[in-house]
């Protein structure tokens, strides 16, 4: 029987409102700091959007504090991010370039916005030849402020602190499929071969090796499903036409259809090589989810709730989640016996679960506000601009 955290949450242990507000204050102050620049912008739509997003992020954090649950509130933010990111991104592209497609001459001039998906493919060519195999600029320019150095620096800092939580609190793309996964009440496909979990690692291995051999970011050229809703190479040859077909088929299949049928984040769990790469950082990250064997009754609720199949029977018996855990909190929220708990490595499992959760959430939500919040504000401002 498959369950879902939105329908099977444990009875909420509500905090008092005063204490919840007190715990939310740091995030409110952080949001103010993040959006303070936008408050003084001459554009009314940008100011309004910043206020709306600031209140949205703070309210969600307040609800996390008040209810003691994480997954549902994080999902509201994450789905909003996934659905609105393409809106702002495409609007910006149309404003700057007049089209979603990127012509070869813009690539040559280093104007391609940098995407973190490329990072694993940069490592070997950079080590062997001290070259970056991406047609962007290393330092910010007037036409391309999202430079490679800034993106890699931010990613590295946040990843070292939060590990694979990046995939649940910062990724622009995962929210789209999480939104589709939430649509159906029950999954149509329940049995999924666990070996599919190995596919992202295989894709990671293949693209890292091919990128080093061909000196180009192979994943972006051939396999990225999100090219269908962001930017893509201008279709000027048979090859680019084939690439475009692949992008669209992968997007429809992995991001729309399969999440609807399985209620899982299928692209993240069974395809995304960046997610596999990010999993490696869970090894050195201090935050994790643990299963208290003394409380666990093997009801499989956590396994069914996990959107990326990062909990197996064996891992439950070992008291852990698998390496691919994104720390979304679904398993913790769904566990009626409080056996699945937030944990900081080096501390006892169980007694300090809520403290571990708070420590993690402050970091994760600060990242979400900084990264996703600015994206949301940009997209909302575009929508307001159109509306007004």
């Amino acid at each position: 029987m498959s369950s879902h955290p939105s329908t099977l949450e444990r009875p909420p242990a509500f905090r008092r409102i005063g204490k919840s507000i007190l715990l939310t204050l740091p995030i409110l102050l952080w949001s103010l700091l993040m959006f303070s620049r936008a408050f003084f912008q001459p554009r009314l739509d940008l100011r309004l959007a910043s206020v709306v997003v600031m209140l949205f992020m703070t309210a969600l954090f307040f609800l996390m504090m008040r209810t003691g649950t994480t997954y549902r509130w994080r999902r509201y933010f994450f789905v909003a991010l996934g659905l609105l990111f393409p809106v702002g991104f495409i609007a910006d592209l149309i404003a700057v370039r007049g089209t979603m497609s990127i012509p070869i001459e813009r690539m040559v001039s280093g104007d391609t916005p940098f995407c973190y998906m490329v990072i694993p493919m940069l490592v070997i060519p950079a080590a062997l030849t001290r070259s970056i195999i991406f047609p962007g600029s290393i330092l910010p320019t007037a036409s391309n402020p999202h430079s490679i150095a800034i993106m890699i620096g931010l990613w590295l800092a946040l990843t070292l602190v939060l590990g694979k939580a990046w995939c649940s609190y910062a990724c622009f793309f995962g929210g789209i499929e999480e939104g589709f996964a939430a649509v159906a009440k029950k999954p149509k496909i329940r049995r999924i071969d666990p070996r599919f979990r190995l596919v992202p690692w295989a894709i990671l291995l293949a693209i890292v090796l091919l990128s080093a051999a061909l000196f180009e970011p192979v994943y972006c050229m051939w396999l990225c499903p999100f090219k269908a809703v962001t930017e893509y190479p201008a279709v000027r040859s048979v090859q680019t036409a084939i690439q475009m077909v692949i992008f669209v088929v992968l997007f429809i299949g992995l991001v729309i259809v399969l999440p609807l049928l399985t209620k899982k984040r299928t692209q993240c769990a069974f395809f995304c090589p960046f997610g596999a790469f990010q999993s490696l950082f869970n090894k050195i990250n201090i935050f994790e989810i643990r299963i208290d064997r003394e409380k666990c009754i093997d009801c499989a609720a956590c396994r069914n709730a996990c959107p990326t199949m990062a909990i197996s029977k064996e891992s439950v018996q070992a008291g852990n989640t698998l390496l691919g855990c994104m720390k979304c909190g679904a398993c913790v929220d769904v566990c009626k016996n409080h056996a699945a708990v937030w944990h900081v490595k080096g501390t006892a499992v169980g007694p300090s679960s809520e403290r571990s959760r708070l420590l993690f959430l402050y970091g994760a939500w600060a990242m979400a506000t900084m990264f996703g919040g600015s994206v949301l504000a940009n997209s909302v401002s575009h929508l307001l601009h159109f509306a007004m």
């Binding site: 030849t129 894709i203 291995l205 090859q239």
Partner: protein, 223 residues
Amino acid sequence: MNLPSISASVWEALALGLATGPICLASCGPVVVPWMLILPNGWRVRSHQLTVFLAARLMGYLLFACVAWWAGSAIPHAWSGRAWAFGCVQLLLAIALLTYAIGWPKTRSCAAESGRRLVQIGVAPQPGRTGAATLGFLTGINLCPPFLVAGVRASQLGSLPAALVFFVLFFAGTAVWFAPFLALGFVQRNPAIATVARIAAALLACYYGFLGASTLIARIIYV
């Protein structure tokens, strides 16, 4: 050729091999890494297979040296069969990788079905040399940038033996860079790695297959 010029060619070939080794490593990586990860664990098996691979790669180099010397530097640029050769090599590489991906070499045991830890009677079957030799030869005749540089230089030498020696030394320079592949055995302790490598080999086979097929189709359509 006089002695100083031979000596200069020797050092030039070695230096060229050593200097362009990382590019060779990157070019052959998509074939070698999944293949090495699929191989059964064990330092001796791995060394033996890599030696066979490198020997076959040397054969490929020498064959290319003969052809390069015979046809001069015109081969890489104007030879009408270049697209055919390139396309066929890519397709053969795809087939070889796919063969590994779908489960070859198989290990058989009369004691228990594969994967069970029961008594192994006799020596476990080892992978044969054919696979390693095929992959080595195909990567040996595959046109990568350092290879083309060496080919052009060899074609300018005075005699076929000189071109062959040049390629042997160039090969020796690049082969040094392949030694780290032996260390892949350390990551193979996790049994899931072999499955990951098989899936990766299948994906890479798709890529090489597409590359080969599109090269041949383009050749048929546009010529």
